[in-house]
């Protein structure tokens, strides 16, 4: 049995959400300030890795949206793919981004297909690198856990 560190277990939960919050903040500010989907996704991966170290990789995997890194990564790529369609449908080149101001009084707050694209990058990076990290971290977990988990994967 892997030795558990009590302090890490206790701190893990608030820290997990805090890191995710930071990652989303980094994602959203990315268009104007340093940040963006790639970095945000990487920070989210660190939250997942933290959970895997504190608990185990199975628990970390089930914490992910869609409960599976491959599905998460695939949904990200799909979102990025779809974000180009509106521009294409409106007669411009594929992946030409469109903007829509929500409040005329506040022009900085706008929704756009760029945001969808960046969110796709975020989810793609989060899913793919979590997949790698969790699979590698799982090497250090003991056999019984693995067998059980392996069966569940199928």
């Amino acid at each position: 049995m892997k030795p558990r560190v009590v302090i890490l277990l206790v701190v893990a939960k608030p820290l997990y959400w805090l890191i995710l919050l930071v990652s989303v903040w980094v994602l959203l500010r990315g268009h104007h300030e340093p940040g963006g989907g790639f970095i945000g996704g990487l920070i989210a991966v660190s939250a997942t890795v933290l959970w895997a170290v504190a608990h185990n990789t199975t628990a970390a995997r089930h914490r992910l949206p869609l409960r599976d890194p491959v599905w998460l990564a695939a949904s990200g790529v799909l979102l990025a793919l779809l974000s180009g369609v509106p521009g294409w449908l409106s007669g411009q080149a594929y992946l030409t981004h469109l903007w829509l101001s929500v409040l005329p009084a506040w022009p900085d707050l706008s929704v756009s297909t760029v945001m969808l694209f960046d969110a796709g990058v975020y989810l793609g990076v989060w899913g793919a690198l979590s997949g790698y990290s969790l699979a590698l971290l799982a090497v250090d977990e003991n056999g019984q856990e693995n067998g059980e988990e392996h069966g569940r994967d199928r």
Partner: protein, 752 residues
């Protein structure tokens, strides 16, 4: 259950049925040729260009018409097979690929569909993939036709570049008027090789009989009626362009004649009904190639007639062989006989189709044979081709007799099978109807007249305005037929004796035959690959790293030496405290990494270098990069630490057991570092082209509404690249997961 199992075959059968009706209707109402063009890759000038002329129309009618029969037959033949839907799906895709191949007017589009047919042939030959022989045959047919396709592509590109256009119709029109350069000769030879592999000409003939491990409807469709004719189609299509070239004519006549004669002789060696039919198909393809090579107008008519006649008699004969296989469980000649009592309708279909194959009067085969004789009696046929044709005619009669008379009428041998029943209507209708069409066209040949004339006009443009008159002329052909009929009957009666003789010959010649050369070269591939892999993939990590660094440094150094510019030593400016501390961190980490032996501490020291670089980026004005570096470094250290801990628990060494001082490693490190420094100095000396950064800086807010230029480039200006990157990352994960899973399970099993 019964109703349900009928739905899919019926739905799929609608595809060839509707296309057949649509094409017939269109042929009746619209004049040829039809053309369609859609822009595909505008930047490369590749258009989805299609053109349907007489030859294409003939091929299309065969593809959909025989396809209809095949789809119906498949419903009966694979009635209880669990993967029947897969067969239908593949057959439908094949139909589309075939239709595309015979109508494409752009060389690259034609190539695409052509390779599609090879690929689908591979999948269909390997349909019974649980049998090793099927897998082997499928691999063989793919290797031969697929690599032939690649050679064809090379020929197409040479041809397209030499002529300056990839439009097939345009190339054929201009070819006779341009000088015969070496490039064009090479292109022609490559295209010939491609067409010969597809149409199983010597020396690429061996894959076709082996492809008979496919289900019978597939053999009837792909390997007799349509796909193997694609090579002939391409030759016929290019003939107006290359027809006047001496090499073209010689090669077509020579290779075709040898294939026709040799294929027919090898027929006698076989005992398996389907393989007998396959060898005779090879021989027919040879005859078709000879006919394409002949210059006379009659030869073009003969190509059209033989294409159609062969499809109309060979497909039913394959169906007959399939029925026999289906209802008796064997296709071996030695175990079959007297089947006419139990399988009367199959016997009738066999008789009608065989009559056409033997070229008996009142069959379409007779009409074809007549025109072929006319074409060959023209002056430009050399003696060898005539002999080949005679051999072909004689053995065709014998094969027809064997498939129709021997198995149905002669007395069954001692070990014959007795539990036999007639097949259902789905297995009887296709061969009967196709054979009847063959006979019908034989009695009323004028019904096919317009179609054949249009096809011939496509091969021989001067024929456009000449009406073709196909009518029944019994007197002239009787004489010529008499001899081949007589000799054919003789071969038929002596079949078993000839068989023994050929077996004896085969045992002597086996080692130098093309098949054994192919087999041996196939054996070499894994041997060579294994030798190379053992050399390169030795599994010693330090040597991998040294190889990588060494070769990169060498290439980089050589490049720098060739394109050397002045190095400029930058002016000294006082660095900020942040930069100094970052550099200290990096240097400290590097020294520690070189000295420390414990793996975990080594990892942490290594992490210092990463953090140091991140701080450096932060202070040098690229915060995005710094963030990324920080996060990546952290995750990397944690993940690698987990692996190291695992290794520690498995007691696979706690520290690096290497000498502290390794002169060669130090030398390599010093070289890498100096080459990189040199590169930096040269970059510093080069004048910086600010065009791109100015553009991005200027347009970032205006065009893309974002102030973070790095992010705007990632998600907007270069969004396509980013999309590609995240897709690659995801795909790499998909590929890596099974490997990582295996890694995780193995030590666990070892521990237990």
């Amino acid at each position: 259950m019964g109703a349900f199992s009928l739905i899919w075959p019926l739905l799929f059968t609608l595809i060839p049925l509707s296309t057949f009706i649509a094409i017939s209707w269109a042929l009746f109402n619209h004049a040829l040729p039809w053309q369609f063009t859609w822009v595909w890759v505008a930047a490369l000038d590749v258009e989805l260009a299609f053109r349907v002329d007489g030859l294409s129309a003939l091929m299309l009618l065969m593809i959909t018409g025989i396809g209809l029969a095949v789809f119906v037959y498949t419903g009966g033949y694979l009635a209880d097979h669990p993967a029947r839907k897969r067969a239908y799906l593949l057959l439908t895709l094949f139909l589309i690929a075939m239709a595309g191949s015979v109508t494409a007017d752009h060389l690259l589009v034609l190539f695409m569909f052509w390779e599609g047919t090879s690929l689908l042939s591979f999948l269909l030959v390997g349909f019974y993939h649980e049998r090793e022989s099927s897998r082997k045959s499928a691999q063989q047919s793919l290797l031969v036709t697929g690599s032939g396709g690649l050679i064809l592509l090379a020929g197409f590109i040479l041809l397209g570049e030499a002529v300056g256009s990839y439009r097939l119709s345009g190339i054929i029109a201009t070819l006779p008027d341009i000088p015969q350069t070496h490039t064009l000769h090479l292109a022609m030879l490559l295209i010939l090789v491609g067409a010969f592999t597809k149409s199983a000409q010597i020396p690429f003939h061996f894959w076709l009989p082996n492809a008979m491990s496919a289900p019978t409807p597939v053999s009837a469709y792909l390997h007799s009626a349509t796909m193997v004719k694609l090579g002939v189609y391409l030759l016929a299509r290019l003939d107006p362009g290359f027809g006047d070239w001496v090499i073209w004519e010689l090669l077509l006549k020579g290779v075709g004649s040898v294939t026709a004669a040799w294929g027919m002789i090898l027929t006698l060696r076989e005992r398996d009904l389907k393989r007998i039919l396959a060898w005779s198909t090879v021989a027919t393809l040879g005859t078709l190639v000879v006919l394409v090579g002949l210059r006379s107008e009659n030869a073009s008519v003969a190509v059209g007639l033989l294409l159609l006649a062969h499809a109309l008699y060979k497909a039913p004969l394959f169906f007959v062989a399939g029925n026999i296989d289906h209802c008796t469980g064997t296709r071996q000649l030695d175990r079959l006989g007297g089947l006419r009592r139990q399988m009367p309708w199959t016997a009738l279909a066999a008789l009608l189709a065989a009559a056409s194959m033997a070229g008996l009067p009142l069959s379409f085969g007779f009409v074809a044979k007549e025109v072929i004789m006319d074409a060959k009696s023209a002056g430009d046929v050399f003696l060898f081709a005539r002999i080949a044709n005679t051999v072909f005619g004689i053995i065709a009669v014998a094969v027809a007799g064997t498939t129709a008379i021997r198995v149905f009428w002669l007395h069954p041998p001692a070990e014959a099978i007795h539990k036999v029943h007639e097949c259902g209507p789905a297995l009887l209708m296709p061969p009967l109807i196709l054979a009847l069409v063959g006979i019908g066209l034989g009695i009323f040949p004028f019904m096919a007249q317009d179609l054949i004339a249009a096809a011939a006009a496509a091969m021989h443009p001067s024929m456009v305005d000449q009406p073709l008159n196909l009518s029944l002329n019994l007197q002239s052909a009787w004489a010529a037929l008499g001899m081949s009929l007589l000799l054919g009957t003789l071969v038929f009666l002596l079949w078993d004796k000839l068989h023994i003789g050929l077996e004896w010959m085969d045992a002597r010649l086996g080692r130098i035959s093309v098949v054994s050369v192919y087999e041996r070269s196939l054996d070499w591939i894994p041997l060579v690959a294994a030798a190379i892999t053992r050399r390169l993939q030795h599994g010693i990590l330090p040597v991998y790293v040294a190889t990588l660094l060494g070769s990169v440094t060498f290439v980089l150094g050589a490049g720098l030496w060739l394109g050397r510019t002045d190095t400029v030593w930058p002016a000294w400016e006082a660095p900020s405290a942040g930069v100094v501390s970052a550099c200290c961190l990096i240097i400290l980490g590097a020294i520690a990494t070189a000295l420390i032996r414990d793996r975990l501490v080594l990892l942490l020291a290594n992490g210092l270098i990463g953090y140091g670089s991140a701080i450096l980026f932060l202070f040098l004005g690229s915060p995005d990069l710094a963030y990324t570096q920080f996060t990546v470094e952290t995750i990397f250290v944690i993940v690698v630490a987990a692996i190291l801990l695992k290794l520690k628990r498995l007691e696979m060494g706690n520290s690096v057991a290497e000498p502290r001082w390794r002169p060669m490693a130090a030398l390599l490190a010093a070289t890498v570092a100096s080459v990189l420094t040199l590169l930096l100095l040269m970059v510093y000396g080069a004048t910086f082209n600010p065009q791109l950064s100015e553009y991005f800086g200027h347009n970032s807010v205006v065009a893309a509404h974002g102030r973070n230029v790095v992010n705007v480039i990632l998600v907007d200006f270069r969004a396509m690249d980013t999309l590609g990157e995240i897709s690659v990352v995801m795909l790499s994960l998909l590929a890596a997961l099974p490997l990582l899973r295996a890694l995780r399970l193995k030590p666990a099993g070892g521990q237990a």
